[in-house]
Symmetry: C2
Subunit: 355 residues, 2 copies
């Protein structure tokens, strides 16, 4: 169905008509100049992200349902990174003419799946057109008790540095998608040069080769916010001293924590958690897997520091790895390699302004 037929309010109605809000803090959702929330006992956490087609996502790789899911998850992830609980979300879309109502329904389906997973209410937004690509702006609102909020600036000398899950896989997933895309275009070009119509016909059924690399794709296309880790930390009675989510790469994020906490760090290459598929793919691509884990973005794992006294508690939690420790600022930010060499950490994280 053509979007212009429905109009802005028609489309918003259509997408949000069966949304029921579930959180007590949501007093009024979609349908007025503002949404209305109530947080008498907790502090309110606010995070926002603007995602642009061509810069943050490529619709030849990711379908709209996964994109909706991911857009919601990356914002939910920021609430967890403050040790909070996500509660509400506003969603603004700028849509170009090439999208149909069904496309936007797909996007909302993914978005709502992510919101249902973490019990987040969709409370409003804005739907408008774009002359060019798709733009997605999401604001997520969460809550936390004042004493539970974890900032980036609380890391202290001797604290342990931990990460959840494994790193570099989302980046490798992107490399894989880009490789298969270029293989496809190469074959198309060759067939065109030879004017080989049969080859061109066959290429219309081109199947990218993802065998044995499903995990990398999943990490790139089906982002999960690590609320489960936050729950495990709570159950274990651990309150991180500093925390953030890894969206731009471990190296860059760790440098934020060090800078804002006024400390140094020492991490060990051998401790950085890397999945087997990530390592295989890096080898195939002739890339250093540690570099990928340090600088590859979009893993959305949690990076956090805990007091050294929590050493044993942390080691008993599945899916959390201890990768090093915080030092005095004067010792700098150091990576110790497998062969015991020391390097100064550098942030080569993804810079969206250099795209």
């Amino acid at each position: 169905m053509d979007i212009a037929k429905l109009g802005e309010f028609g489309l918003i109605d259509h997408l949000t008509k069966d949304i029921k809000t579930k959180n007590e803090s949501t007093k009024y959702g979609v349908g007025d100049d503002c949404a209305v929330l109530c947080y008498p006992d907790k502090e309110v956490l606010i995070t926002t992200d603007l995602l642009m087609e061509g810069v943050h996502f490529d619709l030849t790789y990711i379908d709209l349902q996964h994109l909706g899911y991911k857009s919601a998850m990356v914002n939910i992830s920021d609430i967890f990174a403050m040790n909070g609980t996500p509660r509400q979300m506003t969603v603004s879309l700028a849509i170009s003419k090439r999208f149909s109502v069904e496309d936007i329904e797909q996007f909302y389906q993914g978005l709502r799946l992510a919101c249902e997973k973490w019990n987040v209410d969709i409370i409003g937004g804005d739907t408008t057109s774009s002359y060019t690509g798709l733009a997605i702006s999401i604001t997520c609102i969460g809550e936390a008790r004042k004493e539970d909020i974890v900032y980036r600036n609380g890391a202290k000398d001797t604290d342990l540095i931990c990460v959840s899950g494994d790193l570099g896989a989302a980046y490798m997933g992107l490399q894989l998608l880009e490789r298969e895309k270029s293989v496809y275009y190469q074959q198309v070009e060759e067939a065109r040069k030879k004017n080989d119509k049969r080859a061109l016909e066959e290429l219309s059924h081109f199947q990218p080769d993802f065998a044995g690399k499903e995990y990398l794709l999943q990490r790139q296309l089906q982002t999960e916010a690590r609320g489960d880790i936050i729950e495990k930390l709570r159950e274990a009675g651990i309150r991180p001293t500093a925390m953030m989510d890894i969206s731009d790469g471990l190296s860059s994020e760790l440098m934020h924590i060090c800078k804002q906490s006024g400390v140094g760090c020492r991490i060990y290459e051998k401790n950085i958690p890397i999945d087997y598929q990530t390592a295989v793919m890096a080898e195939e691509m002739n890339m250093n897997v540690t570099t990928c884990a340090l600088n590859g973005g979009e893993d959305y794992e949690l990076l956090f520091t805990v007091p050294i006294g929590d050493h044993e508690k942390i080691e008993n939690i599945e899916d959390i790895k201890l990768i090093g420790h915080i030092t005095d600022e004067k010792f700098g930010k150091v990576l110790v390699t497998r062969d015991n060499q020391e390097f100064e950490l550098k942030a080569q994280g993804w810079n969206p302004l250099e795209k």
Copy 2:
């Protein structure tokens, strides 16, 4: 200066380094995964807008400082439209390569001017690149006591319908800008056809003719949120029964209030406030000025209803006009013209999805 040089974090640092938050409810602003707010006694209002170049603004008409000011004001206006007080704002920008650091500074200057006017703290956002036009996403957060919040759905039979300021001027300002732009391009084309180099040289100093129409330009380019009206209503002890701001045109907004309140309305053409310059411009453009006032957007005046008992109080407030009254739903939504004819109101407001 080239933006890529500074990088995302460098640019955010540069733009936000001297921002000081002033509201008690702002616990933590720019610099972490989330901003942190505290609203123990009030309800929290949230509104968001996504503005796309080419759809919502044209940088050949509006400079970046005015655009920053307007982007902030239209969001602040939504908080006032709930009878709230704006407190915080997040700002996300997607910037194409053609913008310099100085351009973005200009945008922020306008933004901060608007925020300072209404004592709003800038608490975060996102800065990224765009392959195409500029995209601006703003979320504004405000507060109100639960009993003070005014929704769209509270209008009752016999309530009086009021608007602040005057209507149609912002739309006429846009017509004026578009007319002068087309005059310019026409002259350039003619000079090119004749290969008249002297005329082309002169056209590089082209001065659009805005004489006597300064108010229209101001209404289009320097949007003001009507917080002063909210204050006056409070001082007079008036609590509107329903309210919204007029962004898409009086007709469309009034229909929202009627639909959500389950009522009808009756407004009088002769009472719709129209500035002299708006009337003159409509005549020049061969347009019906009432149609402009009913359907022209971007005035950001307040449309609200008050109990009939407040009649005298309302009439004593400067810059508020009584344009009609609420009726039972069965009487429909009626415009009474100057010659006492009755028409069914239609929403022909601006549809951003039809651009």
